[in-house]
């Protein structure tokens, strides 16, 4: 009986493997184990293969986790797009990789297996390295995709047929501007001591945002960075670091705590609240999530940089849809139309009410037809 069961299970597994290998696009059969990236001269030209069909278009959204409100706003924007175009034509796959590079690559393969060439992928790479693998997979599968926030050095959209574009809010400049604004509002203008909680080691967004802080510090030489630590995007870690620093340096010696994202910033604020220091020690973040907006309004937080997930997600997917449909030939576009900044919004007490009115109290209107309007400035990658 046991032998029969074992043989049956083995047989089922073999049949499943065979089914998976025959399913969908041939791209999954061509998966390469090499990490070396080359331009694919064998991938079909976009104009030849991007035909609209009656099949549903799979919109794959690959993110780090689904707990971050920023990603939920991306999803909402994509959903708005599908409603605008006719929901029945689309199949949204919103998948989190739980901060695992390997998992994210597997998720992309799964999305392609689901939709074949009728797939477009919107991805926030967990780490820059993911872009290399995804570029190769999508190029071979003939699937359009885009990246947001992180990209890999040497892997640039304009070198590929199917890597449609890379977009990012300008992180370095916007962080610099926010930090300089904050320094100017220290008790003694442009003089003080700050601490920094970065994100994940090796993550482009974390690196760029910290670079923005460093740019601001160069222009404010009397502002001293006492210490910087990786918060790993973990609010609990941010709280532990805050309490440790408050003991090490003393609350009186700290003018601000810079955080690489809003979630860590909000956790820091809770710790400061527990010691009656909220509002006294300035805190900044990045993302512009609703709770951060409320914290700015209540003076617990100095400011944040709002990415515009509605625009990035909504118009970003509209761009990919146009590529898939054959309305847009990415190979004919300029580099600046394939690598670009979207407009960041620096949010402080001065403009927070307007932001709340436009984006929180009312659903922002997204212009899906003029998706190229999301290009704020070209991004130079080399």
């Amino acid at each position: 009986m046991k032998k029969l069961l074992s043989v049956s299970i083995a047989l089922i597994m073999v049949l499943m493997l065979a089914a998976c290998s025959n399913e969908g696009d041939s791209g999954t059969e061509k998966k390469s184990t090499s990490s070396e990236l080359t331009e694919s001269s064998e991938a079909p030209k976009p104009t030849e293969s991007a035909e609209s069909t009656d099949e549903k278009l799979v919109i794959g959204i690959s993110v780090r986790n689904i707990e971050n409100p920023y990603y939920v706003q991306i999803y909402d924007a994509v959903k708005q797009f599908t409603e605008y175009m006719g929901e029945e034509k689309f199949d949204i796959q919103f998948i989190a990789c739980d901060s695992s590079d390997d998992q994210q690559v597997s998720d992309v393969q799964a999305m392609i297996a689901r939709g074949g060439k009728n797939t477009v992928i919107y991805i926030d790479p967990n780490n820059a390295a993911v872009c290399s693998s995804v570029a190769k997979i999508c190029e071979e599968a003939g699937v359009y995709w885009c990246s947001v926030w992180s990209y890999a050095d040497g892997v640039y959209p304009y070198n590929f047929n199917y890597y449609a574009f890379h977009q990012t809010p300008g992180q370095v400049e916007s962080e610099k501007e926010l930090c300089l604004d904050m320094f100017s509002q220290f008790e003694e203008a442009n003089k003080g001591k700050i601490l920094a909680i970065k994100g994940l080691e090796g993550n482009t967004a974390s690196i760029d945002r910290f670079a923005g802080l460093n740019e601001a510090l160069k222009e404010a030489p009397d502002v001293e960075l006492l210490d910087s630590q990786n918060g790993d995007w973990n609010p609990q870690t941010a709280q532990t670091l805050t309490t440790t620093w408050l003991n090490k340096y003393g609350a009186d010696e700290i003018d601000a705590i810079w955080c690489a994202n809003d979630e860590m910033a909000l956790a820091v604020i809770e710790t400061l609240k527990s010691q009656g220091l909220n509002g006294k020690i300035k805190v900044t973040g990045f993302d512009g999530i609703t709770d951060a907006v409320n914290a700015i309004k209540s003076d617990d937080m100095f400011g944040t940089v709002g990415a515009n997930p509605w625009l990035e997600g909504g118009q970003g997917v509209a761009y990919l849809y146009a590529c898939w449909k054959g309305d847009l030939d990415v190979t004919s576009l300029s580099e600046g139309e394939r690598c670009f900044y979207t407009e960041p919004q620096i949010l402080t007490k001065e403009n927070i009410d307007d932001f709340i009115k436009d984006y929180i109290d009312n659903s922002p209107e997204i212009d899906f037809d003029n998706y190229m309007d999301m290009i704020y400035a070209p991004l130079e990658l080399e």
Partner: protein, 339 residues
Amino acid sequence: MQNSSKESITIAEEFIRETKKQEQRAIIMKLVPIVLLIALIIIFGSITPQFLTVSNLYSNILEQLSILLVTSMGTTFVILMGGIDLSTEGMVGFAGCFVGLLVQNSANDMNLGILGIIITILFSALIGAGIGLIHTKLRLPSFIITFSAGYIAQGLGVLTYKGIPAAILDEGIRNLYFHKIAGLPVLTWIAFVVFFIALFLEKKTAFGRYVFAIGDNEKIPVMSGVNVNKVKILVFVWTGICFGIAGIMGAAKLGTSQIYIGQDLLFPTLTAVVVGGTSMSGGQGGVVNTLIGVLIVTVLQNGMVMAGVPNELQKGVQGLIIISVIVLSRRRSRKQIVK
């Protein structure tokens, strides 16, 4: 005749000498974690004077270890009985999400107050009971069932708030973190209460003795008529309770209900239990050992930040110290099979 009696005395003396040596070795091995803890405090104190201040050693470190102490109290019993619990992050995160929706919050009109806390703990206990039942009745290894349960709990947790975490408005919950007694947040005192309950369970109840017996050699309590399955289920119920309490504490600290509450808790929890001296194979160790382990982990994290150890080196340093204490505190026999 005279020669053989001389030999038997010699063998007896040698036996006594060997036994004494083993006892001394056991005492030394038990002391290794305590010695390490003291050494860490001295080293960090000499590098950074602020480390040795009352506000750091008392207020800061004791507050920082609160959640870890509670999760470790639960996990200790699982490891003592020879199992393992990998559901820490998911379960704690789920409890944090769940309680956030039952007490006064920004997402719905619920306002159950203390009842919300009790329901969360009971629900967590129920999940623990479910894990225990599957482990015992379906005879699935604790490794796989807790690993899966952690993921299920994580998914359920995220479903409760669907990406938009609710802000916790209940003052009672928030005051667990904001309100202080003798300089420590209420939730730190809750952690101590959990510790003393765990200590009572271990030392003063039959349940505690059975846990050790099962971990040491499961066949013996079975043959003695102990309902081993019931004990195992109760261990997971206790772990569920601990994870539920930890989740509530995390929600109080963050002020929101989100799955992050449980993030990155598994490794420190297991480390604290093992470094403290509880054997992964079961039957040896205990909650006092785990308390030392929790202190070691917390002092290490705190001390490295205080001392300004570069980020890139911190994880490596942590790993080295953990391996060192385990090597020094374990008795390894050449005949022992290690997998």
